[in-house]
Every structure is written in C-alpha cells, then in structure tokens.
C-alpha cells in the first residue's frame, strides 16, 4: 500500500514536471506541497462537509488510475482525521463524467495474474474503508459512472445522480472480458438484489439514472437545469453539489436514513433469496442462459456467476478473495486481450482523423427509400440532420417513410423517446419524388439498386441540381467507387459510404476513398458518419473494398461446405460455435441470395480462382427458383410471419443434390470446417492490409467484428493472428491448400509474420 502510494507520487511528479516546473518550485517554498501537488483529487470544506472533487488532468474523462487512487486515499485520510469535517461529498469537476472506470492500461502493464489480483485487492481494501467510513460519504454522480467508478459509488453511504442522458451507471467489465474487481461483485447483489446484479454484470448494460433510482442503485435524482446566469452544465453540477451537501449534512445529523423503503415485489424477491434452494435454482438458470449465449467462448460471465455465488454462500472474505483471483485470471486470458483490443480500436474509429470538414453537413439527401436508404435516413434525422428521402415511386417512398417512423416509434415504446420527441425528430425528414431542395444539400447519399448504369444515371441527375460543395456518396457493397465516379464531373467529391443492414442496429460504416477523392470530402463523410453514431473505418477503393472482399471467399467456402453435404443447420451451429453471431447459412439468407450471387460474380471476375470454391451455380439456381432468403420468405430456411422456429427449405434438397461434391475426409472434421471458413477470411483480410486497402490492422479488426460479425472473442482477424500465432494460421492454410489449391495459399504478409514472429499489434 505504502509502496504503491510512493510509486504513485513519483510517477505523478515525473509526469507533470515539464508542465509545472516553474510554479511548482516557487510554491513549494512557501507552503506545504502535499496539498498543492494533487492533480487528480482535491477537496474544499463547506461548513462541516468536505467536497471532494475528482478531475483527471488533460483528459475529458476521469479514470481510476494509480495516481488518482493514491491521491484519493490521501484526501480521505485527511477528511477522516479532521475534527471539523462531519461528512463528505464526492463529485467530479467534469460535466458528463463522474468516473468512466478504471484505467485499462493499468491491466495491460501487468505481466502475471498475481499482479492483477494484487491490484484488485488494493481496490477492495480502499473501497471497504469507504464503506466503513464513520463519516457519511455522498457520491454526487453526473455523467458516466462505470466500472470502477460505480464500484466506488456503491461503496459510499449515499448516491445522488443527475437525471440526464449522459448519466449512466453500469459494470461494463464483462465486455472487456473481465469482472468488477474492486468489491463490485460483492456489493452489487446486496444493493440491487441478485437477479438485477447478475443482469448488470453479465450484460454490462448502461443503466440510466431514473432506472437506477427504481432499482435502488441511487438514492436521489437531481434534474438537469436549464440556463440561468451561467451555462446550464456548470450550474447543474453546482446544484448537484448543493443538494448533495444538504443530504450529507442530513446524514451526519441522522435526519436522513440510508435505508430505502422497498416495494412489495422487491421484498418478496429478497425473501425468496434467503431460501438456499431458490438461490441454487437461480444460479443454475443464469449459468444455463450464459452457456447458451456464449457457447462457452467467453470465460468472464461464468466467473462472475462463480464469484457472486462464493460471496453469497461463503461470506464476504471468501467472496473478496475469489473476486481478486478470478479477476487476475481473466485479465490474462486471450479473450480479454481480444476484447480490450476491440475497445481500443473502437475508440480509435470514433475519431475523425481527417479533421473538421470545411463545411459542416446540415442537409443530407438520400436517394432510394429501400431498406438501406430509409435506415440511413433514420440514423440521420435523429441526430438533427435535415434529411430528404427521395424515391422513384410513391409506394416505395411510403414504405421508407414508414420504416423511419417505425424505428422512431419503437424507441417511444421502449420509453427512450417521448412521442413528442419522435414527432420533432420525424419533422427533419422530407419525403419526395423529385429533386426539389437538392440545391441546399451538403451531401447526397445514394442507396439505389446495385447497377452501375443506374448509379451513373442518378449521379448525373444529381450533379445537375446540387451545389458545388455537395459530396456525392454511394452506398454500395461491391461496385468500385472509381467506376461510379467515372461518370462524375467532379470525382474529388465522390466517395463510398458502405452502411450495413439494418442500419440503425449495425455500428459499422465503411468509407471508401478513391485516388481522386479529396481529403475534405473524406473528412465530411467521416463527420457525418460519426454524427450518425457509427464506428468508422476508411479504406481504399478496390473490388469489394475491405468488408465485402473478406466475406466473399468465406461465403464461397460456405457454398462448398454445403455442397459437400453438410446440413445448413449443422453449418450454422459450427459457425456460431466458433463465435460468429449469425450462422453462415442464415447469413446468406439474411444478406439475400441475389445480392450474394451478384457480389460473388463481380468479385469472382476481379480476383479469379482465389475466390472460387463453392459453385456459383448453387446461388443461380436458388435465385431462379425465387429463394432469395428472408426477404422472399424462402432461402436455405423458410421464413414465415410470426413463426419463430426456423424450418429447412426442403426444396433446396434437389438443388444441393444436383451440385453435390465429395467431401475430403482429412479436411472435413468439424474443426476443419470452422477453420476453413475462418482462415480464408483472415487470409483475405491480411491481404487487404498487404495491398494497402486497409490503413491499419485496428480498422481491419473493427470492420470485421462490427460489420461482418467476426467473433469478438477473437478480437478480429489481425488480433486472431497475433493471439493464435501466425505460424499456426499459415500451417492450417497450407493443409487446406494441399487439399483444395490456390484458394488457401497464404498471402505474403502472413508468411512474413509467421517467419519473423512479428505481430500486428505491438
């Protein structure tokens, strides 16, 4: 403990020396330096209440790192030691963030699980001290209170939260493949009950303040304020502080009780939880659900259940010990490394590295009110972009408008929007059949049918009516952007924006630039994408760009596997068993058989034999019979309105029988089938990096996971190569190459990595 504090203060000094050098010395002569040297945590005293302010320097968010922790302990010790102070308020000086969590770089720097476990124990001790504080501590929460931040808050005696959209509470550790390691697994079940605690810890979901109040996670809410005689955010924090101080005083005077009156349902559940048999049933049920959903690929959820169980059944000390040990173990797993990598990548892809565009995009026009067009419209209007949705026919347009409305209305049903907000947002949408108003558009996104002649036609029509600065973006999944731009008078303004369906659910946006696309056009497209809430990768133009190109060889392999007689259901369970969220056969149905055929043909022409494998004939025959997948009601499966269970489409048997291939025994085990699919995907991804379609491996991983459902537990194709070992991937590829030929030939970059042991991530 002492050592860590010493290290903490040391690093603090070195870290900030250059910045504060002159002031530091002058001041340290005149006063005791202990107080002034604090950069993360400070406190002031109002009456008999200490107000502890958390403010990580040079950062938008507060993170629990070593320095913050040690300063916090110092401050708390002073507060506990002072006779004048009777209670304390804990508040952040940053609007929009209480504490966003522990610093995950702290974990990355640990080499062994013991080191991590020790870190966890330090946190446990600190928070236990808070919990047992003789002076009541009120956590005044405004903004995100996540992970370690929430564990800190629930160690306090009382919690007051601002009721705004930015204020969310949660334990997202599971999403990083770890668990709440500072007493969270022990305190949370006591605070909100076992079922709710499991839900929070196993899903990692964010809980808004009002919901948190109902759950008993916070004790009071403070409404956000409007403008007064200073900016609203500033005054709201001040108000939160004032309210928190009053409650702190009340708690110190014993005028306010920390006990919460529980509702009937709550009392019943907590009574039920005292019966061991019921508890066992709950553990069993939760474990079953987790097994079903994770297919055993993610270790964290199971360990969370284990730790909670230990705490409840064997007492606090055993619980704490178990928590810290499992925390240490989890932090060393491949899965957590993969998930943390994804987290970093996601942060990276939420930034606009091209800078601010010259002109802020306010008016967007979308061509084509199909599933894609309407989806793009939906994510645009709810971010306040004035959006024109244009279609060729009134029925098509009406369908699109209804889709947007339904998307918004579903949010009303879930109570994340009010009906008024829905109407207000919907008023940003104009549906029309002509080009009226396009003269004001800052960006046109076309989502018309994938046909180069049609794309050229609309491009020319649009360019006749749009202003000079307007960007023309094409939402195509396979047509090369430079071919589309060939018809343009201003190719520097043409760019690809590849959205994924359903647009409002899929986080990824793939932006495709040609050699001629200007930097400002790219900046503009990225800024619109970010506004729409997307995670963005920017790739170079080429057949299939990055995502479609990676998917195509895998799909081709899917067809071959089906032709080799593997049942679609079996194939689906093999792929989901590997960590793909959607089974491979189902994926074909979801994408649309005609689209798949289209893409396979185009890319087959571009890349030749390497993209071969399964027979295109299979898709052609399916299209001919009208088996287009979910949209036509039949594909590999039969889709009926209101029927949940999927039944195989028996008419497929004859098609498959006609195209049957003989499986090769030595590469057709379940595992081989999985790896045949994955290695082709990975090989193609690495080739995209080799050919500089991709700028960074991080973007490749984000694109694969968020756009194509590459198993998140593997962290994306590049992380997978790093963690699995490039040599092993190459070996697998060579094995399949021997059986099937060129399609499995590992690319040069992959071979280089295998021989040099280089990694994509350092």
């Amino acid at each position: 403990m002492v050592a860590s504090r010493a290290i903490g203060s040391l690093s603090r000094f070195t870290g900030s020396r250059t910045l504060r050098f002159p002031g530091y010395f002058c001041r340290s002569f005149t006063r005791s330096s202990a107080l002034l040297a604090r950069t993360h945590v400070n406190y002031g005293v109002k009456g008999d209440v200490a107000v502890v302010r958390i403010n990580s320097p040079n950062s938008k968010v507060n993170t629990l790192n070593k320095e913050l922790q040690s300063e916090f302990i110092e401050v708390m010790n002073e507060i506990w030691g002072s006779d004048q102070i009777r209670s304390a308020v804990l508040i952040s000086s940053k609007p929009g963030c209480f504490i966003a969590g522990a610093d995950i770089n702290m974990l990355a720097s640990c080499k062994t699980s013991q080191e991590v476990a020790q870190m966890s124990q330090e946190g446990q001790r600190m928070f236990e001290k808070l919990e047992k504080s003789p002076k009541p501590i009120v956590a005044a929460i405004s903004g995100s209170c996540l992970g370690g931040g929430l564990e800190l808050a629930i160690s306090c005696q009382y919690r007051i939260a601002t009721k705004d959209r930015k204020t969310v509470l949660g334990t997202p550790e599971v999403l990083l493949g770890i668990l709440p390691g500072a007493g969270g697994t022990q305190r949370l079940p006591k605070m909100v009950g076992v079922p709710a605690a499991f839900d929070m810890m196993l899903t990692g979901r964010n809980i808004r303040a009002d919901r948190a109040k109902k759950m008993g996670l916070v004790d009071q809410l403070v409404e956000p304020l409007g403008p007064g005689v200073k900016p609203p955010e500033e005054r709201t924090i001040e108000y939160l502080e004032e309210v928190a101080i009053n409650f702190a005083k009340g708690l110190a005077d014993k005028k306010i009780s920390t006990k919460r009156s529980k509702g009937l349902v709550e009392r019943l559940t907590s009574y039920a939880m005292t019966i061991p048999f019921i508890r066992q049933q709950i553990y069993k049920k939760v474990e079953e659900t987790v097994q079903k959903q994770t297919k055993g690929l993610y270790p964290a959820p199971l360990k969370i259940i284990d730790v909670v169980k230990t705490g409840i059944e064997q007492g606090k000390d055993a619980g704490y010990l178990c928590e810290s040990q499992k925390f240490g173990e989890l932090a060393m797993t491949k899965e957590s490394k993969a998930l943390m990598g994804l987290y970093h990548g996601q942060v990276l892809c939420k930034k606009n590295k091209f800078g601010a565009p010259q002109k802020d995009v306010k008016h967007v026009a979308i061509l084509g009110a199909g599933l894609m067009g309407a989806g793009i419209a939906q994510v645009s209007v709810d971010k306040g972009l004035k959006t024109i949705l244009k279609d060729a026919t009134l029925t098509g347009l009406g369908r699109g408008q209804q889709q947007v409305f339904k998307g918004l209305n579903d949010k009303v049903k879930k109570k994340t929007l009010t009906s008024f907000e829905r109407d207000f947002i919907f008023s940003n949408l104009t549906g029309q059949l002509n080009y009226q108003g396009f003269e004001k558009a800052d960006m046109v996104i076309e989502a018309v049918f994938e046909d180069i002649n049609l794309k050229h036609k609309v491009l020319k029509e649009v360019e006749a009516v749009i202003p000079g600065h307007c960007v023309f973006a094409s939402n195509t999944s396979a047509l090369p952007i430079n071919e589309i731009a060939a018809a343009s008078k201003r190719p520097e303004k043409v760019i690809g924006m590849h959205y994924f369906s359903p647009v409002d659910k899929m986080q990824l946006l793939e932006i495709i630039t040609t050699d001629k696309t200007s930097k400002d056009t790219t900046a503009s497209a990225v800024s619109v994408g970010l506004k729409q809430g997307k995670v963005i990768i920017v790739v170079k133009d080429g057949p299939g760009f990055y995502t479609t190109r990676c998917l195509a060889p895998m799909m081709s392999e899917v067809l071959r596997i089906l032709q080799e007689g593997v049942e679609p259901k079996k194939l689906d369970s093999l792929t989901t068993g590997f960590g793909f969220p959607v089974g491979a056969a189902t994926l074909v149905d979801e994408v649309g058989v005609d689209v798949a055929k289209h893409v396979a043909e185009d890319l087959g022409k571009a890349f030749g034999e390497r993209f071969g494998g399964g027979s295109l004939e299979l898709l052609k025959q399916m299209v001919a019979k009208g088996f287009l997948g979910r949209k036509s009601g039949k594909g590999f499966y039969i889709y009926e309105e209101g029927v949940k269970s999927k039944n195989l489409n028996s008419d497929m048997d004859s098609i498959l029988a006609g195209l049957q291939l003989v499986p090769k025994a030595d590469v057709s085990s379940d595992k081989d089938i999985q790896y045949r699919l994955v290695t082709r995907f990975v090989n193609e991804a690495v080739m995209c990096l080799q050919e500089e379609i991709l700028a960074t491996p991080a973007e490749g991983d984000i694109g694969a996971v968020f756009g194509l459902g590459f198993p998140p537990c593997l962290g994306g194709p590049f992380r997978f190569v790093d963690l699995y070992g490039a040599q092993k991937v190459v070996d697998r590829l060579r094995k399949y190459e021997a059986a099937y030929g060129k399609q499995f030939t590992p690319c040069q970059l992959l071979i280089d990595h295998a021989t040099s042991h280089k990694k994509f991530y350092h």
Binding site: E223, G226, P227, G228, R235, Y239
Partner: protein
C-alpha cells in the same frame, strides 16, 4: 421646447452612442436642460402613433377570484363569465347593442360550452346579433382576447369590443379512456346484436380508467411546478427568498383588499349561496409556517411549495375596449390606452416560465421606453420562484447575451412599483381570466398613484409570454 427635448431623449435608444453623447452634452449645457430632465417624469410623451387609432379601456371588472372547490364549485364556466359580463354592463352602462364583438379566453374547456364567449353573452342578455369567439393561449388567454379586440378595432372592423376570460377549476372535463371511447363509438355504429356483443366482449376493466386533463406540458411531459422548481434552481433562488416573496404578495393583497383598492371586483350573487364580494385566497401567513411545508414537486429537496405557488382558482373577468373617438362620442371617460404589445415564445423545457424576461425588453423597445419610464409593473405571478428567476434573468447580462441575443440586460423592475396590490400568488389565478385583471389593475394603479405607463407581463404554458404597455388616460 421642453417637451420636444424630452421626446428626443426618449426616442434615443439608451444603449447607443447617441445616448452617451447626449448625457455628456447635458452636463455642459445650461441649467434649463437639466430641469427639463428632472421634470421629465411628470410630463411624459404619449405613445400615440400617427395613423393608428387610439384604443382605450373604458373599464374592466372581475368577479371575486375564489379557491376552486368553494362557492363557485357547482356552477359552470359560462355562469362565471355571465356574472362578469353582467357586472361590466352595470359598471359601464354600455348599451348592449353597440357592442360589435365579444372575445373570451379560457384554458380548460368545458366541452358543452366550447365557445364559452357566445354562451355567456347570450345568457347575459347580450344581443344575439353580436358574434363572439373564444381563444386559448394558456395563462395569457385573456391577453390574447384583449389584443384580438385591439386588432379588430385598429383595423377598423369594430369600434366596441368586450374582451374577457374565465376559468372554472372546480370542475374539469374528465374523459373516458381512449379504449373505452373507441368501444363506445364503435358500439354506436354496430348494427346487429352480434356485432354489439362481440364489441362488448372486448371490454376490459382497465378501459374504465379515467383520463384527466393534462397537467404536464405536452411537449416535455413535465408539470409546470416541476419546471418552476428547476427554474428557481437554475437561477439559484432559495426557498426562503421564495417564501418571502409569496408573503409579500399576500400581505400587499390583504392591504389592498382592506383599503378597498381592488375596485375592479363586482359582487356575485351565487344561486343558492351568499353573495360573494371578495377574493378568498388572500392568506398572509408567517415565514415559519411557510417553512414547514414540504416541497410539492421535486421531492424531497425542491423549493416550490403550495405556499409559494399560485393556487387553483375559479373566476372570470371582462373589459370594455373601444376606439378612443367612439368612447368620447359616447361620453365615456376611459381609464387607459392599450398601447404596444408583444408575444414571445422560447424553449418550453428549460425556459417555460421566462416569458416576461423575453417580452419586457421587446415591448419597451417597441414603445421607445426604458424600465425607468414605467410607473406600475403588473406581472403575473405563477410561482414565487418564477418571478424571482425572471428578476434574475432580467438583471443578468450573461442571460441577455447568451440566451436572448441582446447586448445588455434590461434590468430588474423596482419592487416598490411591482405588483403593489398583490398578484396571482395571493389573489388567485383563474388561467383564462388573469390577463384582464393585470391590465385593469395596472390602469387602476396608475389612476390612483399617478404615473403614466404601466407594464403588464405574463408567462404561459408552452413556453410563451406576453407584455403590453398600458398608458393612463389623461385626467
């Protein structure tokens, strides 16, 4: 000479360089000029504008404002409106047939008398040849009635208009739920017994849950009291300040009532009950008593309580508005001119009740006046916190610059000129009727205490606001 000088002085926008130069000059000028400035308060210019008709208030009345659920509780809204109209007729002796038009404001509409103006006029014995309509604009409904009348006269369509407002909070329309209504309507259309039975079979007990008139703002789903509490917090108005202001309102109202200043009241003989002669919501209490109350909206730590909010009120008001020449031709001595007015609107969430802050500088600019020119401020008091927040907003350069897009603040009204005969907090606030009370009170105050200009301002649900300049009629 002096009058010309003062005129030019007034017409100079106070913020411009001109004003600065003028004041510099006046320092170096002869003493004559300085006396001119000193006497300026007594001889203000009139706000008459060339080519625009002067419009006057001949007189205005109201029936006593009562806490809802008291003496008026068995009546209907048009009964109250009728009483106000009858009172107006008696007070002014105006022949019914000269009235060209009638307009009333109301908020919660009784469905049976949705055009309450027409029903009340007919019931009060007005000519059936006098058209009437009803307007609604939340708490500034009767302001809207008045200004609509002003518009009709100014455009030459009418010479004599009666404007008023009414609200009966003792009874509000409570509806069946939408599901129940739908079933009842479908039943109406059902032709066979089979259809009827199948409809009835769909009945569920929750269909019977009644639907109350909305108390919350439709756009934000927030009640007004809740918004007022947040507003008070945003401007850091303390509970004590609010209680003190409410106490002031009640004390001043009590004083005005005792001194007989509330002369706009006409007694109302309620059928089957005693004659009501005065407001019954005026209850000066002590700060200690008020401090005991629990917050009514933001629990448990908010600052808005029942004692520092306006209460649910029944009441009605009416006034006689004429073109000046018509009034003079009929031998009337009007009470006041109705001059410039504005309507404003702003964010219904965070600035719901800041209408007066937005409206005041606008109407002053329009009339070429400054805060110093106003002799009587008559503001609608929805909540103590709301009035005090408006004061702070009006007194803040930050607010003026960042929220209103103005260069400087307009300034806070001096308390000695502000709602000196009580306000909505103490007299009561029948939503639709308050506007006329504000105007006639301003006119009466100017007549009694001397002074030329009154400023009436009010906030309203929906984030709207209104302000009007009332000019005393020369004696």
């Amino acid at each position: 000479m002096t009058s010309i000088l003062t005129c030019t002085f007034k017409n100079l926008p106070s913020t411009s360089k001109w004003a600065l130069r003028f004041s510099v000059r006046s320092l170096s000028c002869s003493a004559q000029l300085q006396t001119a400035q000193a006497t300026q308060t007594k001889t203000k210019k009139t706000l008459a504008k060339p080519n625009i008709k002067n419009i006057v208030v001949v007189d205005g009345v109201r029936i006593p404002f009562l806490l809802s659920g008291t003496s008026y509780k068995d009546l209907m809204p048009h009964d109250l409106a009728r009483a106000a109209l009858t009172g107006l007729l008696q007070r002014t002796n105006v022949p019914k047939e000269v009235i060209d038009y009638l307009i009333f404001g109301t908020v919660i509409q009784e469905v049976k008398t949705s055009n309450v103006a027409r029903e009340a006029a007919l019931g009060a014995g007005f000519s059936d040849k006098t058209p009437a309509h009803t307007v609604t604009m939340a708490c500034i409904s009767s302001n809207q009635a008045m200004t609509t009348g002003v518009g009709l006269i100014a455009s030459g369509q009418c010479d004599v208009v009666v404007a008023g407002g009414v609200e009966l909070m003792s009874d509000v329309p409570i509806r069946h739920s939408r599901k129940m209504r739908k079933m009842m309507l479908d039943l109406n259309k059902a032709k066979t017994m089979g259809q009827r039975l199948s409809l009835i079979s769909k009945f569920r007990l929750n269909f019977l849950a009644p639907e109350l008139p909305a108390v919350a703002e439709f756009s934000t789903s927030e009640t007004m009291g809740h918004s007022a509490d947040r507003l008070a917090a945003a401007f850091a108005v303390s509970r004590t300040e609010q209680d003190e202001y409410a106490l002031r309102s009640h004390s001043l109202a009590k004083k005005a009532q005792d001194e007989g200043l509330l002369s706009d009241i006409v007694p109302f003989k309620v059928p089957g009950k005693d004659t009501v002669t005065q407001d019954n919501g005026i209850r000066p209490s002590s700060l200690e008593q008020m401090a005991k109350l629990k917050p009514a909206f933001i629990k448990p730590y908010g600052t808005v309580t029942a004692a520092n909010s306006s209460f649910l009120t029944d009441g009605a008001s009416a006034m006689l508005i004429m073109a000046e020449e018509k009034a003079l031709a009929m031998g009337y001595k009007p009470k006041a001119y109705l001059r410039d007015f504005v309507y404003v609107s702003q964010d219904p969430k965070d600035q719901l009740l800041l209408g007066p802050t937005y409206a005041t500088p606008k109407v002053l600019e329009k009339a070429g006046l400054t805060m110093n020119d106003i002799d009587a401020f008559e503001f609608h008091e929805a909540f103590s916190g709301q009035i005090l927040a408006n004061f702070k907003a009006m007194d803040s350069d930050w607010f003026a610059q960042n929220c209103m897009g103005r260069k400087t603040k307009v300034g806070k009204p001096p308390l000695e000129k502000f709602n000196t005969w009580g306000g909505s907090l103490s007299l009561g606030h029948p939503f639709g009727a308050t506007g006329c009370r504000l105007v006639i009170t301003a006119a009466n105050r100017l007549r009694r205490d001397g002074g030329q200009y009154g400023l009436v301002a009010a906030c309203a649900a929906g984030g709207q606001g209104h302000a009007m300049i009332v000019e005393a009629y020369p004696k």
